[in-house]
């Protein structure tokens, strides 16, 4: 177990493209930190910098309080699992797993014991004599994880390890990874662009955008209180609904949308005091909509398309001039047809409000 700290990290490619800009991040011992972001945001670059596979142009990387900025990858006490698995094709699974320990000149008995232990943990004991080419995708994935775990590294790095698997296997491996993390208690740093993976696995998520951290917090916090429009848009599927409007202090605090619809947000916990007439974006998660029980607080929408997903129903509606998605209970839709009016109410205590100019949460 070890804590990892990144301090004021800068990475520049080819002397001009600034990939990472002054990044700082502290990861506690035993954390499962997920670096999440769209492709090209620099998350893999950051992971490679932590691993020591890329040199940095500024700042430092510390593992367990020790400056490892200049250390060789193999001296950092880390293990890494790659998207392409990167198993050595000419070595058996056993040979793949033993390679690191052999390089460290461990005794044969020790290596044998370690490899067999780890293989058992990952249920790949019967695959040890096989070459990677003869394994299925899931088996390769296990072997690759086995290679990382066999060395008892304090920090395990994962570079999109599940994205080459099919959907079913991915779900299985996700749960398996979570169990593994619980069992071995190493610090995991995990890169993905898949928010479901991030939300389910992480103890903390660092959302990255264009070489910077947009927000670093727990999955719940990220979902419920996104710090800016980018995070709000990126997290959650279907995505958060955005309604553009202005703040009005007439009878409480309200957001008046551009097409004149009033949303009462008096109960919203503002971080910064809003101003009358400030242009804002109101963010409403699809599941904050409910079928209206009374006419009093309801919003009239036009139901365009219905997508039944079993447990819930996605309703694509028109609210004023905005298109919104509402996630409703199937029973809520009783008696409503498409192209008819659907009256909805909104749980306005849980919405997000962003300043339109800065995109930041208010």
């Amino acid at each position: 177990m070890a804590q990892v700290a990144v301090k004021h990290l800068d990475k520049v490619y080819q002397g001009n493209t600034h990939i990472l800009k002054d990044l700082s991040l502290e990861i506690d011992s035993g954390e499962f930190l997920v670096l999440l972001g769209p492709s090209g945001c620099g998350k893999s670059t950051l992971l490679n910098c932590i691993a020591g596979l890329l040199d940095v142009e500024g700042g430092r990387v510390e593992i367990d309080g020790k400056d490892v900025t200049n250390s060789d990858p193999s001296e950092r006490g880390i293990a890494m699992v790659f998207q392409s698995y990167a198993l050595y094709p000419t070595k058996t699974v056993y040979g793949n797993m033993a390679f690191n320990l052999r390089m460290k000149r461990k005794s044969k008995e020790f290596i044998d014991q370690k490899v067999k232990e780890t293989a058992e943990l990952l249920q790949i004991s019967e695959l040890l004599d096989r070459k990677p080419a003869t394994l299925s995708g899931g088996q390769r994935q296990r072997a690759a994880i086995g290679r990382a775990l066999v060395r008892d590294a304090a920090v395990c790095l994962f570079d999109e390890p599940l994205s080459n698997l099919d959907a079913k296997l991915r779900t299985e491996m996700r749960i398996e990874l979570k169990k593994l993390h619980k069992k071995i208690k190493s610090t995991f740093i995990y890169v993905t662009h898949d928010q479901v993976e991030a939300m389910t696995l992480a103890t903390r998520i660092a959302v990255m955008d264009a070489g910077r951290f947009s927000q670093i917090s727990t999955p719940d916090e990220l979902y419920e209180r996104p710090a800016n429009v980018f995070v709000a848009r990126f997290i959650g599927s279907p995505a958060m609904n955005f309604i553009y409007g202005t703040i009005s202090f007439e009878s409480g605090i309200n957001v008046i949308s551009h097409d004149g619809i009033r949303f009462d947000i008096s109960s919203y916990p503002f971080l910064t005091k809003p101003q009358n007439g400030q242009r804002v974006i109101l963010g409403v998660r699809p599941e904050l909509f409910h079928r209206a029980t009374s006419d009093a607080k309801s919003y009239s929408t036009l139901l365009n398309i219905v997508e039944p997903l079993g447990a819930n129903v996605l309703c694509y509606c028109q609210l004023g001039k905005s298109d919104i998605v509402a996630s409703l209970n199937p029973s809520d839709l009783a008696g409503v047809q498409t192209d008819e009016e659907l009256k909805l109410e909104i749980d306005l205590s849980k919405v997000s409000v962003f300043d339109e100019a800065s995109s930041l949460r208010l």
Partner: protein, 303 residues
């Protein structure tokens, strides 16, 4: 490489070697390129402006060696022969392409045919030259064979004829390299999508038309590569001349490489050899700039 201004972490020299191992691995080749290739080239170019004869001599004489070079009938002949040889060795490409097309349309014994067409490539050009010299032997070779068959006036003594000696060398060299261009063209043909052929069948286009109007244009980059290799072959041509004719008769089969090497080794005139090789370098450079421009233009038009 690691930022230099950060304090080195681990200890001493081993760490330096280990960190810069990749750079160190590259250094020998870099030094060889700079010293043996670029350094030597510059040295030769400098020498071409001096009065060096048997020994290097740093008396600068301007362009006098070049004037002398271009007053030398042998040098002129060698340049003429270079052009002739380059043109003639296009025969390897033409024949190689034809053979590759025929092989593409005939699967019987494909491996055996390829083996036979390509084996000359495996043997030294000295041997190629020697065996063709033997075949061209007027009293014991092919000429005599055909005369014995009844063609009394058959003349095939190309090696001894100053007007035909270059054709003899070209013939031998075509024999030697055709198989290679066949392989290149076969690779090019294999790269062509089979759907093009299926489309042509549906459109009812004859095979010959397809080759002329579709396939050959599609293979233009294979041909450009071949032109480059053929020209390199022409510039390098030396061994085959030594083995077949030794430049004779009367210097009528001399080529630039032969002229230059002869100037350095037998006639011991460094500056003139250097001047000749500088001209050769310029010819090569001009040719590759031309090819590069054509290649660039073609690729640009394609995208």
């Amino acid at each position: 490489m690691v930022r230099a201004n950060l304090p080195a972490q681990s200890t001493g020299q081993q760490s330096f070697v280990h960190k810069h191992a990749a750079t160190l691995a590259v250094v020998p080749v870099l030094l060889i390129a700079l010293f043996f290739y670029f350094g030597s080239t510059i040295w030769s170019v400098v020498m071409s402006f001096t009065a060096s004869k048997i020994f290097p001599d740093m008396t600068f004489v301007g362009l006098r060696q070049y004037a002398r070079l271009f007053n030398d009938n042998l040098w002129y002949m060698s340049l003429e022969n270079l052009a002739l040889f380059a043109l003639g060795s296009l025969g390897s490409l033409v024949l190689g392409f034809v053979l590759s097309v025929l092989l593409d349309n005939n699967s019987a014994g494909e491996g055996a045919f390829r083996t036979i067409y390509l084996y000359p490539m495996a043997v030294s050009l000295i041997i190629t030259g020697l065996v063709w010299q033997w075949l061209f032997n007027p009293s014991l070779g092919l000429q005599q064979f055909f005369r014995d068959l009844g063609f009394k006036d058959f003349v095939f003594n190309w090696v001894g004829d100053k007007n035909k000696v270059m054709y003899a060398i070209i013939l031998a060299s075509v024999w030697q390299s055709t198989g290679f261009y066949m392989v290149l063209c076969s690779a090019g043909l294999k790269g062509i999508d089979t759907e093009v052929w299926q489309a042509s069948r549906i459109d009812g286009i004859s095979k010959l038309r397809m080759y002329l109007e579709v396939i050959i244009p599609m293979m233009k980059f294979t041909f450009i590569t071949s032109f480059v290799l053929l020209s390199i072959g022409a510039v390098k041509a030396y061994d085959i001349i030594v083995a077949m004719t030794n430049g004779g008769p009367g210097g009528h089969s001399i080529m630039p490489s032969y002229y230059i090497v002869d100037m350095y080794t037998n006639r011991r005139f460094i500056a003139l050899g250097a001047a000749g090789s500088t001209v050769l370098l310029l010819i090569v450079a001009a040719f590759f700039v031309l090819i590069g421009v054509i290649n660039y233009a073609l690729r640009k038009r394609e995208s």
